[in-house]
């Protein structure tokens, strides 16, 4: 019982119940106004009708008085004053003494006013409850006083019945409305309880749980579906994060361990001071590598978190790509590559110059690192051009290339293919290029260079600027202080 009361109290305290109670209240108020108006109108119509009848009768009686004199009038009034009728009469002489009629006296309510109105009287033939009646005085022009009226008790009883029925109706409506509100809010509370329970479980860590839906497609289902889609994304992100942190654990812990080993080995080395120096140098070297990995990781995370604040510049892409390539060309030549630079003139873009530079640097560095130099045909081609109205930068080599199946994968963080695991590198170079592409609403395409690999950094057409506005920052190197 208390449990039921609790549930009712809970339902009653909900928004849904409050809203339905409010709706019921508004409905009742409006209904009361309509019924009240109807009642008042009917009453008025009826009274007017009675008064019209009485006025007509008064006219007949007064003409009878003119024609037949007092005797005829008394005769008529007496004949009309049958006890069963609804007509009421009172004829008195000048002094107020009753001559004829079925009323005992002039009703005091009328005597005071001297004109027609509503009064109550005691019927002659009984001592039951008093009846309601309407009467008007008739002007006879002589010393006689005549009052004629109609008993309206039947109408009053009818009106009372109607009033009772309406009040009863209102009562039933309110109760049913409120019960309906309670039922509706119970339904909503039940759905909400399900959603709350599910989200609590999800908060407790069960990310695979979903909010139940009824499949009927209401707004609550739409809400639940949206929440479920959000959960789907969160779960995906969490899994991605877990994967990344596993990778971090592996790719940062391994070099950390190597660093620790180097320091320990140096300490144990019997050569003493000389070994310590070498050990410390190696330690710093390894710390630098770690910092490098860490920085690249942070940068990728930062780029994936969203756009950077006001760090975009307008610059000549072709010129910039040629410039960065020029930085690498001596190093590429020394490594045995012919570095070809092929840039389209007049492609001005708006973007983050430093990050695009970093991406080009990573791509050229990869090309130098992963393809063999010094052999015939060891060439690296860097291009800046437009693909279907989109600015693009490509770096192609004639090295071993990447299998079609692996191309998607190498863009991910820390992914290093078996063949290159032993080479120096962080496994973040291409991920960073991909992050830079995403920052510029573009993408990275890996293609077969026949033979070798061609990586295309495709930026969004939104980056393209029609005419150069500010050329100042397109001339690198002049910032030297």
């Amino acid at each position: 019982m208390t449990a039921l009361l609790d549930r009712v109290a809970k339902a009653a305290s909900t928004t849904a119940f409050g809203l339905s109670a409010l709706a019921v209240a508004f409905f009742l108020f409006a209904a009361a106004i309509v019924v009240g108006f109807l009642f008042w109108q009917t009453n008025k119509l009826f009274t007017d009708q009675v008064l019209a009848t009485l006025t007509a009768e008064a006219r007949i009686l007064s003409s009878e008085m003119k024609v037949g004199g007092q005797v005829k009038l008394v005769e008529t009034v007496t004949a009309l004053s049958r006890p069963q009728g609804t007509g009421l009469y009172y004829l008195a002489d000048d002094s107020g003494a009753k001559i004829a009629g079925n009323l005992n006296r002039i009703p005091p309510e009328l005597e005071a006013q001297g004109r027609g109105g509503v009064f109550s009287y005691q019927p002659l033939n009984g001592d039951g409850p008093s009846h309601l009646a309407v009467a008007i005085p008739v002007d006879l022009g002589t010393g006689l006083r005549l009052i004629i009226g109609r008993d309206v008790e039947d109408q009053r009883v009818f009106a009372n019945t109607i009033r009772f029925v309406f009040l009863l109706g209102f009562g039933i409506l309110s109760v049913i409305g409120l019960l309906g509100g309670l039922a509706v809010s119970r339904l909503i509370v039940n759905r909400m309880d399900q959603i709350t329970a599910a989200s609590r479980q999800i908060m407790d860590g069960d990310l695979s749980r979903r909010i139940p839906t009824t499949g009927r497609g209401g707004e609550l289902d739409a809400l639940a579906n949206n929440l479920n889609e959000m959960l789907e994304r969160i779960e995906g992100l969490m899994n991605g994060l877990r994967e990344v942190s596993d990778n971090i654990a592996h790719d940062l812990k391994t070099p950390l361990n190597r660093l620790r080993n180097a320091a320990e080995a140096a300490l144990r080395d019997p050569r003493g001071e000389e070994a310590y120096r070498e050990g410390l140098e190696r330690t710093i070297e390894k710390a630098d590598e770690l910092i490098k990995t860490f920085n690249a990781l942070l940068l990728i995370a930062r780029l994936e978190a969203g756009p950077l604040e006001d760090s975009t510049e307008t610059f000549d892409l072709g010129r910039f790509v040629a410039d960065v390539s020029e930085l690498y060309s001596p190093a590429a030549e020394e490594a045995g590559f012919a570095l070809t630079i092929d840039v389209e003139q007049g492609v001005f873009i708006r973007g983050n110059r430093q990050l695009i530079g970093q991406a080009i640097a990573n791509l050229i560095d990869n090309a130098i690192k992963y393809s063999r130099g010094g052999e015939p045909g060891s060439a690296i081609t860097v291009r800046a051009y437009r693909i279907a109205g989109r600015p693009a930068i490509s770096v192609g080599d004639h090295g071993p290339g990447i299998e079609k199946a692996d191309r998607e994968r190498v863009l991910k963080r820390f992914v290093r293919l078996e063949a290159s695991r032993t080479m120096p590198g962080t496994g973040l170079g291409l991920s960073l290029v991909a992050a830079v592409a995403r920052l510029h609403h573009g993408e990275v395409l890996l293609e077969d260079n026949q033979p070798g690999l061609k990586v295309i950094l495709l930026l969004s057409s939104r980056c393209l600027i029609a005419a150069p506005e500010q050329m100042g920052d397109a001339v690198p190197g002049l910032a030297a202080q």
Binding site: D288, R302, P330, A331, G429, L432
Partner: protein, 262 residues
């Protein structure tokens, strides 16, 4: 490539570091040209601050320490310092606000900002606030030293020089002509700018990252030691056919151009 095992590691706006990453505190002993500087280190981490003070002292400079922003600001306004090293996150008054107040007081002491925030836009914000250089933690001490010394020299009048000379090597900034012992040396535009920057900082150590930033205007990590090849090409032109080398490699730090012993 001399330092293939450890490349210059600076990602766009991220720490600019040195090749070998060696602490090279003894390298200044034979170097008479760097004048003593008064440095104020405003850094809340006491261990780092003491390390910087000790290291700067070993390199012949004096350093005062402040551990919060307010103390740092009043010291910076009172004392005549050659360079300020300001950590970006400081208690009581953060580094950028400190620099802004300092600059609004008309103080023109060069500021090196140290920060753990190394993202692309942080650097821009730091320089916009009035910083003169930006170094991201973790950094190599040799990188910091080179930058502090470059900043300390900034106020010197030679900034306006139209002619640089080191030994018999002369660079004329008006005619863009480089001669050594009167003999004209033909340089590529980039080689010219590289030499110009080195001669502007003659006698000082210039790191690879500083060259990348100032000669190429790149603030990203080139992954491999691309600068070394450019420098050795320049060296081949200015030093190869002459008996006395002027462009020296400073192990673990960078390069220096000077008329003196290697």
């Amino acid at each position: 490539m001399a330092n293939s095992g450890s490349s210059v590691s600076s990602t766009a706006g991220l720490p600019r570091r040195l090749g070998d990453g060696q602490l090279n505190s003894e390298r200044r002993e034979d170097e008479g040209r760097t004048h003593t500087m008064r440095v104020l280190v405003i850094e809340d981490d006491k261990e780092t601050a003491l390390f910087l003070q000790k290291s700067l002292k070993e390199n012949g400079h004096t350093a005062d320490l402040a551990h919060d922003g307010e103390a740092g600001l009043s010291l910076a306004l009172d004392g005549a310092y050659d360079v300020l090293i300001v950590d970006r996150m400081l208690p009581r008054l953060d580094g950028l606000s400190l620099i802004k107040s300092l600059k609004s007081e008309g103080n023109r002491t060069p500021v090196l900002i140290l920060s753990a925030l190394g993202e692309v836009d942080d650097r821009v914000k730091g320089l916009r606030a009035g910083g003169d250089d930006y170094l991201t933690k973790p950094y190599a001490y040799s990188e910091l030293l080179a930058r502090v010394e470059a900043l300390g020299r900034r106020t010197a009048p030679e900034e306006q020089q139209t002619r640089y000379s080191v030994g018999d090597l002369v660079l004329d900034r008006l005619s863009h002509r480089v001669t050594r012992g009167g003999e004209h040396i033909l340089l590529q535009p980039r080689e010219y700018r590289l030499l110009e920057y080195l001669m502007q900082h003659a006698g000082q150590v210039v790191t690879r990252t500083m060259l990348l930033e100032h000669v190429w205007d790149y603030h990203f990590d080139p992954q491999t030691n691309v600068i070394d090849v450019h420098v050795s090409r320049l060296r081949a032109k200015i030093d190869k056919n002459f008996d006395k080398p002027l462009l020296h490699t400073v192990r673990g730090a960078g390069y220096t151009i000077r008329d003196g012993p290697a």
